[in-house]
C-alpha cells in the first residue's frame, strides 16, 4: 500500500490508464499546466490545451469517443457544464439509444465540484442530480484517494459517458489554486479523512454503482457522497457519544445509484438521513426517498442539502452547506420521531 493525496491518486491512476491505452487522450483548458506531468510525459498530442470553448471540446469528445478514442475531458469546474450542456444531454447521453444500442460514447468528464472555500455560487455547485436526471449518463463522486483512482479507471473503461466529480475540498491541487493561492493566512474546513490515504500499488477499476458502507450502525442510516461522507462520519462520532449508532453509506456513484445498499441498511435502522452537497429539490435526496417508498420499507426520513444559491460570505456558506452540526442535529431529531 502506498499513501497518496487525493490529487496524486487521480493523476497516478490517469497516468496508468494513459500508459496502458493509447486511446486515452486528455484535453481541456490549461491542461498543460494542470496536468504538467502528463503533458511532459505524453506530449501535446495526448494532453491538449483547448480554447475556452466548452461546447466545442465536449462535443469533440463525443465524436472522438464514437470514433474510437477514450477522451478524458478536463472541465475544471462542473458549473461550466451549463455553457456546453447540449453536448452532454442531447448528444453524448443519447447516441446509444438513438443508434439502437449500436454505437457507444466512452468518454469521461472530470470536474471539480462543491464549495467550502469561498468562491461564490457560480463556482461551487455540485450538480450531480442535474446530470443524473438525464438517462444515458453516469456520475461518480469519490471521497477517498483509493476510490478516486479506482473509480477513475472504471470511468475510463466504461462504455458510457461518465462524469468524474471531485469535491474541491479534497483536491489539493485545485484547492491550492482556487482557495489559498499560496497564502498561509486562510484555512478551510477540510475533512482529514479524504485528503490523503492508502492506495493500492497498482490501480484496479472499482465497479461503478456500488456503495461502500463506511460505518455500520443500528439506529440511523446516513447516506451521501463526497465531502458529505466525511461530515457524516464526524457527526456519527458525536452521535455515538450520545448512544446513537449511525451507519454511513458512501454512495460513490450517483448514477447508477446503489439503491439496494441504502435500502438494506435502512431495513435494519428504520431511519434514513440523506446528506447532499447538491441542491435539495428534484435531486438525490428525493431519489432516495422514492426508493424507500417504492420498497415499502417503513422508514423515517430527513434530508440535508443546499437550499438556495450558495452565498459568497464564507460564514453563511458554511451554514448552507451540509456540515457536521446540521447532520448531527437532523439525526437527533430523526431519532425522536
Amino acid at each position: 500500500m502506498r499513501e497518496m493525496t487525493f490529487s496524486q491518486a487521480i493523476e497516478d491512476a490517469l497516468t496508468q490508464a494513459m500508459k496502458e491505452d493509447q486511446r486515452v487522450v486528455v484535453f481541456g483548458e490549461d491542461v498543460h499546466a494542470l496536468r504538467m506531468n502528463l503533458y511532459t510525459r505524453f506530449g501535446e498530442k495526448r494532453v491538449r490545451p483547448a480554447p475556452i470553448s466548452e461546447s466545442a471540446f465536449l462535443g469533440t469528445a463525443v465524436g472522438a469517443a464514437m470514433a474510437g478514442l477514450r477522451p478524458f475531458v478536463e472541465l475544471i469546474l462542473i458549473d461550466f457544464l451549463a455553457v456546453a450542456a447540449d453536448a452532454i444531454i442531447n448528444q453524448a447521453a443519447k447516441v446509444e439509444a438513438f443508434s439502437g444500442g449500436r454505437w457507444k460514447v466512452p468518454m469521461v468528464v472530470r470536474a471539480g465540484c462543491g464549495g467550502g472555500y469561498g468562491d461564490g455560487g457560480q463556482h461551487e455547485q455540485s450538480l450531480w442530480g442535474w446530470i443524473a436526471h438525464i438517462p444515458g449518463l453516469k456520475v461518480v463522486v469519490p471521497s477517498t484517494p483509493a476510490d478516486a483512482g479506482g473509480l477513475l479507471l472504471a470511468a475510463i473503461a466504461d462504455e458510457s459517458p461518465v462524469f468524474f466529480l471531485e469535491p474541491k475540498l479534497l483536491t489539493d491541487d485545485l484547492l491550492e489554486v482556487l482557495g489559498s493561492g499560496g497564502r498561509t493566512t486562510v484555512t478551510y474546513d477540510i475533512p482529514t479523512g479524504g485528503r490523503s490515504g492508502p492506495v493500492p500499488e497498482r490501480w484496479e477499476p472499482l465497479a461503478l454503482g456500488r456503495a461502500a458502507v463506511r460505518r455500520e450502525g443500528t439506529d440511523i442510516t446516513i447516506a451521501g457522497a463526497g465531502i458529505a461522507i466525511h461530515r457524516a462520519t464526524e457527526a456519527a462520532d458525536l452521535l455515538s457519544g450520545e448512544g446513537i449508532s449511525a451507519s454511513v453509506i458512501d454512495l460513490r456513484s450517483i448514477a447508477p445509484l446503489d439503491r439496494d445498499a441504502v435500502l438494506k441498511d435502512v431495513e435494519s435502522t428504520g431511519r434514513l438521513l440523506v446528506v447532499d452537497d447538491d441542491y435539495r429539490d428534484f435531486g438525490l435526496t428525493g431519489e432516495l426517498a422514492a426508493a424507500v417508498l417504492e420498497s415499502g420499507l417503513p422508514a423515517r426520513f430527513a434530508r440535508i442539502a443546499v437550499e438556495g444559491t450558495i452565498p459568497f460570505d464564507p460564514k453563511r456558506e458554511q451554514k448552507v452547506l451540509p456540515n457536521v452540526e446540521r447532520i448531527y442535529e437532523a439525526a437527533r431529531r430523526l431519532m425522536e420521531r
Binding site: 470553448s53 461546447s55 462535443g59 453536448a87 443508434s99 439502437g100
Partner: protein
Amino acid sequence: MFDSVSLYRKMLTCRRVEEAIAGLWQEGLISGEMHLGIGEEGINAGVLDHLGDGDAVALDHRGTAGMLLRGVEAAAIIKECMGLEDGLCGGMGGHMHLFSKDHLAASSGIVGSAGPTACGFALAAQHLRPKKVAVAFFGEGAMNQGMLMESLNLAAAWDLPVLFVCRDNGTAITTSSPAVTGGSLEERARGLGVSGKNISGVDVEVVWHEAAVMLDRARSGKGPSFLRTTCLRPQGHFLGDPLIRMVHKPVAEMKPRTGPLVSAAMSSGGASIAQRLAAITKIMAMIGRTARTQLGSAHDPVLQMRKKLKITADDLAGLEEEVELTVKDALEQALQSLPAGGEEATK
C-alpha cells in the same frame, strides 16, 4: 477523377429515395417532422463522393441523403424513418437521428452540433487513422449557433482534418438568414481561422472539384476548410411546411389565418400603422420568397447534371430504370417489414 455518370446516379438515387420517403410521410406511415434534402443533391454528392472507409461525416436534421451517399442501404434508412425494428437504428432514432457506426456517420437534430461532432471524428482520425477526414454538414442558419463557431476555431487551433460544408438556402425555417446574420459567412470562418470558398451547389462538378482540394488539404495535415454552397429547397423547411401550403393552397391554408391577421392589423392598442404595415409587408415577403423557390430546371442539380451527361439515351434510360428499381425494391422491403396492422401505428 470526376465521373459524371456515377455522380448522376448517386444524385438521382437520393432524389428518388427522398421522394419515396415523402410519399410514405404523406400516407401517414411516418410520424412527426420530415426534413429532406431535395434540391441539394449537388452538394451532398459532390462532397461525399470523396469519402471512403475510415472517413467520417456528421449530419444535421437533413441527413437522409448523406447516409445514402456513404453507402447505407436505402431500405435501412426508409425503415428507420418509419420507426421499424429492423431500421438502421432499430426504429429508435427516426430521420433526425440516423447513425451508422460502420460508416462513421452520425446525425443530430440540434442545430450546430455537427461541427463539434465532426471535430471529434477528426481528432480520432489524427490519432487512429492518419489521412482520414471528417465532414460536417449544416445550414447557413446554423452558422449563428455558438457551438458551431467554436468548433471552427477549435478545428483551426488543433489543425483538425475537417471540411465544414454550409448548405446555404438563405432560410432557416421561416427566417430569412441574411436578416439575422451579420458580416459574411466566409469572413466569419476566416476570422475563426478557417479559410473558405463560396460556390453554387447546383453544379455538382464545381462542388466536387472544390471539395477535392479542401479534403486533400485536410488529408495532408493542413487543417480544416470551409465550403459555403448555395441551393434552393423547393419543399420548404420540412414536409407540410405551412408556408408552402399557403402558397400552394391559398384558399384552404390562408383563409383561417387571414381573419386573426386582419383583426390584429386593425385592432386598437399596438404599434403605429406604419409599423404594422412594415410587419405585414415582411410577412408577405416571406410568403413570396417561398413562392419563388421553385426548383425549375436551372436550379435543379439533378437535371443540370443529366443535361451534361455524355451517354446515349439508351444508357441513360437504363441507368434511370435501374435507380427506379432499386428504390422501388427498398420501398417494398420497408413496406413488407411493417408489422401486421402497422399502417395504423401513427393513426
